[in-house]
Symmetry: C2
Subunit: 419 residues, 2 copies
C-alpha cells in the first residue's frame, strides 16, 4: 500500500486516495505522466477524409442563449458505435466549461463515513469497467422538438439525440465502498462544474448497480462536450442523470428536487389523475429507421437496404419489426450482432421499392417483452383522447412512439408522425 | 427493380449496378445526396479536449522514404474500441492518395461471369454488415521493430500496430454472387489506388466467408489513412490482406506472388527445412499488458489495475493469464464483456505492488485452445537454438511472443523481451 502511513490516509483497499478534509498530500502521479516521449512523437489526432466532410455528414449544432445542442447524423450512421466527435450533446449552459484536469477533483460527501476527493489520475488507477451503452436525451423524438417546429424533418434533428459509445470509468460502487455509506443513505445528488452547476438526483440502488464515473469514451479521454474530464454515466436511463463535468456527489436520504428536475423534466400525467411525475428513469423501448429517412431522396425504384437503430433502457432488444406498407404487414428485421444490453442495436431489412407512395415503420420489443407503441397508443396510455391533444400539451418529453417515414412517388422521404 | 431495362443491365438481385464494360449509365445517386441541409447545419466534427492532448496521448507518426507508420497509443487505451483517429496505419507508399469518392470505382473482373464496376454510393445501397474486429500488422511486436532499434521501448512503438474498430461494408460474397464465379476460380488479387498499387492475394474460401468491402469505421466514412473511400477488410488475418484504397479485385485460379508478398512478407522457416513460407494468414493468439508498460512510471507502491489487450485471428479469446512475478505464478485475468470473435478483448487484474523489482507477463489462450508462447518457445518452434539466433535473423515478422515488462524499484517500466 502507500508508503505514507500518516493517520489521514485511512482507506480500505486502494490506499492512494487523498482525504477530502485533509486535502491531497502528495498527489498520485498518473502512470502516463512519466512517459518518455520520443523526439518524433507527433501529438497527432487523425481527421476525417476530405471527401467525406460533405454537407449532412457532420454533427449539427444549434445554439441559443439557453441551450447548446449537438445532433448525431443518424442518416449517415452505420453499425452501433457513434464516434465521440459525432455524439449528441445538450447543455442548458450557454458556454462549455474548459477544465484543467490537473486541478479537477471529484468529491464524495454527505452521508458517508469517510468523505473523499479524487484526482482524475487517482481514479484511473482504480478497477475500471468498459461497456458499450447508448445515451439518449429524454426530449429526443418529441413531437414538440425544434426539428418539427422549424421544418427540419431529418432523422438527425428529430431523433439525433441518441448515440452509442464504449464508455470507460470506475464503478461508482467502488468509490462508495471506499467512502462507506451511513445508515439511511438512499439517494445521491450529483453536481457538475459548469456555470449553471447542473444537478441531478439518483437512487442509491442504481448507483450501486451499474453506474460509473467515466473518464473515457471509445478509448479516448471524454470530450469536452461530454463532460471532460469526468462524467457520471447512468446506463439505460434518461441522459440528464449522467451529469457532465462531474465535481460533487452528495449522499442523502431522500430525493432532492433539483432545479432542472423541477422546472424542465417533470410532466403532467392524465393517467395519474393530473399529478406530475417528477422522476423518470429508464428509457422505454424505441427504434427508428435511419435510412431511408426524412429529408433523404431515393434515386429510383429498386433495391434498398432499410436500416435503423433500436434500444431499450430495460436491457437488450429482443426483436425489431419493420413495415413497408404503413403497418398492414410487419416483417422481422435482421438484428446485427453484437446485441448488447442498453446499447443501440442495428437492424436491417432488404426492400425493393416499387415506386409507389408508402410508409415505412419500425417497432422494437425489448427483453422484458415491452413493445414500442404507436403515437396513438402512447397518447391513449397517457390519457389523451387523441394525438392532437398530446401534441398540444406544453411538455411532451419521454416519447418512444413509432416513427413513420412517408416515401413519396418522387422518392422524397418525409416525417409522417402527424399525417 | 431498376426501370432501365436495357440488355446491359444484367444483374441478379440488386439491379442498380453498372456493368464494367458498358460503364455507368445513370449513376445511382446516394441517398444522402438529396439531404436538405438546414441553414444552421454546421459541418462540425468534434475535437478532443484541449486538456487531453498532452504528449503521449496521441497517435505517433513516423515517416521515411519507404513508409508511413502510425502507432496506436496503447498505453492510454481503455476498453476495446480504437477511435479512427488513433488507428494504426502502415503504408509502403510515401504519400497517401487523395481520392474523389464520386470518381472512384471498384471493379471486379477476371474469372467471373459478369465483370462489374461499383460506385461508393451503389455499394451503400446493398446489404451491409458491421462487426467489431481487430486489425494487426504482421510486423507488430517484432524483435526487429524500429521501436527496439531506436530505444523507444513503449507499448505504443512495440505493439501499437494493432487496433480494433467497428467496420461496416458490403460482404464480398454479395458482390461475387452478382458477378458470378467461373469454374476453377479459387483466389483473388486485390489492388489499391495508391501510387504503388499495393496488391495482395486472398483465397476465395475466405473471401466468401467473412470478408467485406468496408466503407465505414466506427460509424464514419473510412479515414484517408485507412483507405478512403473503400478498403478490403479480412477479419483475423494479417493486415496486408486488407487492401486499402481498393480499386480492383481480379478473380484468378492460383495464388499470385505479388511484389510485397514476395519481397517483404515471406519468411524462412528452419522448421520447414529452410523453405520460405510465402502465405501467412491468421493472426496467432496474442496479448500485451498496456498499463503498466515500457516507458511508464509507477508513482509508488500500492494498488494498480493491470490492464491489457488480447486477441486471436482464430476467433474469441478464451482465457488470459497474468503473472506479476516473472512467470512463477499465473492468475486468470478478468475478461471485459463483450468478448467478440476476432476482436480485441480487454483484460484486467487487480495488483498491489510491493515496491520490489518484478516482471509482468500476460498469456492468451484462444477458443481453439492455442496458447501464446514465450519468445524461447517460439524460437524453438521455429527451429532456432536460442532467441539470440531468432533476433539475429533478418526477418522476424509474424511474432506472437509473450511480452515481459520489467518494473524496476524506482517504478520505471522497461521492455524485457531480451533480458
Amino acid at each position: 500500500m502507500n508508503s505514507n502511513r500518516s493517520g489521514r490516509r485511512r482507506f480500505l483497499k486502494y490506499g492512494a486516495m487523498a482525504a477530502l478534509a485533509a486535502g491531497s498530500g502528495r498527489s498520485a502521479r498518473g502512470q502516463s505522466a512519466g512517459l518518455e516521449v520520443p523526439p518524433h512523437d507527433a501529438q497527432t489526432h487523425g481527421e476525417p477524409s476530405r471527401g467525406a466532410t460533405t454537407p449532412g455528414s457532420g454533427l449539427a449544432v444549434t445554439t441559443s442563449t439557453s441551450h447548446i445542442s449537438h445532433y448525431t447524423p443518424l442518416q449517415d450512421s452505420v453499425g452501433i458505435i457513434t464516434p465521440a466527435a459525432l455524439h449528441f450533446m445538450q447543455t442548458h449552459s450557454s458556454r462549455l466549461p474548459d477544465i484543467d484536469p490537473q486541478q479537477h477533483r471529484l468529491s464524495i460527501h454527505g452521508m458517508v463515513d469517510r468523505p473523499l476527493s479524487f484526482t482524475v489520475e487517482e481514479l484511473k488507477r482504480l478497477p475500471s469497467v468498459s461497456r458499450i451503452y447508448f445515451l439518449e436525451c429524454h426530449a429526443n423524438g418529441s413531437p414538440h422538438h425544434s426539428a418539427r417546429d422549424a421544418k427540419m424533418p431529418s432523422v438527425q434533428f428529430i431523433h439525433g439525440m441518441t448515440s452509442c459509445s464504449e464508455w470507460t470509468g470506475v464503478p461508482l460502487s467502488v468509490l462508495l465502498k471506499e467512502t462507506g455509506l451511513q445508515k439511511g443513505a438512499s439517494w445521491l445528488v450529483s453536481e457538475g462544474a459548469d456555470a449553471d452547476k447542473f444537478s441531478h438526483t439518483l437512487p442509491l440502488a442504481k448507483a450501486l448497480d451499474d453506474v460509473m464515473v467515466a473518464y473515457a469514451q471509445n478509448g479516448e479521454p471524454v470530450r469536452r462536450e461530454q463532460g471532460y474530464p469526468l462524467r457520471l454515466f447512468v446506463p439505460g436511463w434518461e441522459a440528464p442523470h449522467s451529469v457532465k463535468w462531474l465535481r460533487h456527489i452528495k449522499v442523502v436520504d431522500q430525493p432532492y428536487m433539483t432545479w432542472n428536475e423541477s422546472m424542465n423534466h417533470s410532466i403532467v400525467r392524465r393517467d395519474l389523475g393530473g399529478k406530475s411525475r417528477w422522476y423518470h428513469f429508464e428509457i422505454a423501448p424505441k427504434s427508428v429507421i435511419t435510412r431511408p429517412s426524412g429529408g433523404l431522396q431515393l434515386p429510383g425504384r429498386g433495391f434498398y437496404e432499410i436500416t435503423g437503430l433500436a434500444w431499450s433502457g430495460a436491457g437488450a432488444v429482443r426483436r425489431v419489426e419493420v413495415s413497408t406498407d404503413g403497418g398492414r404487414h410487419w416483417k422481422d428485421a435482421k438484428l446485427q450482432e453484437p446485441v448488447l444490453r442498453m446499447a443501440h442495436t442495428r437492424f436491417t431489412l432488404d426492400w425493393t421499392w416499387d415506386g409507389e407512395e408508402t410508409v415505412l415503420l419500425s417497432r422494437c420489443t425489448d427483453e422484458r417483452g415491452e413493445v414500442q407503441p404507436s403515437l396513438a397508443e402512447l397518447s391513449r396510455n397517457w390519457g389523451f383522447s387523441d394525438t392532437d391533444k398530446l401534441q398540444a400539451t406544453s411538455r411532451t418529453i419521454h416519447i418512444n412512439a413509432i416513427q413513420p417515414w412517408l416515401v413519396a412517388r418522387d422518392g422524397s422521404v418525409h416525417d409522417a408522425m402527424f399525417s
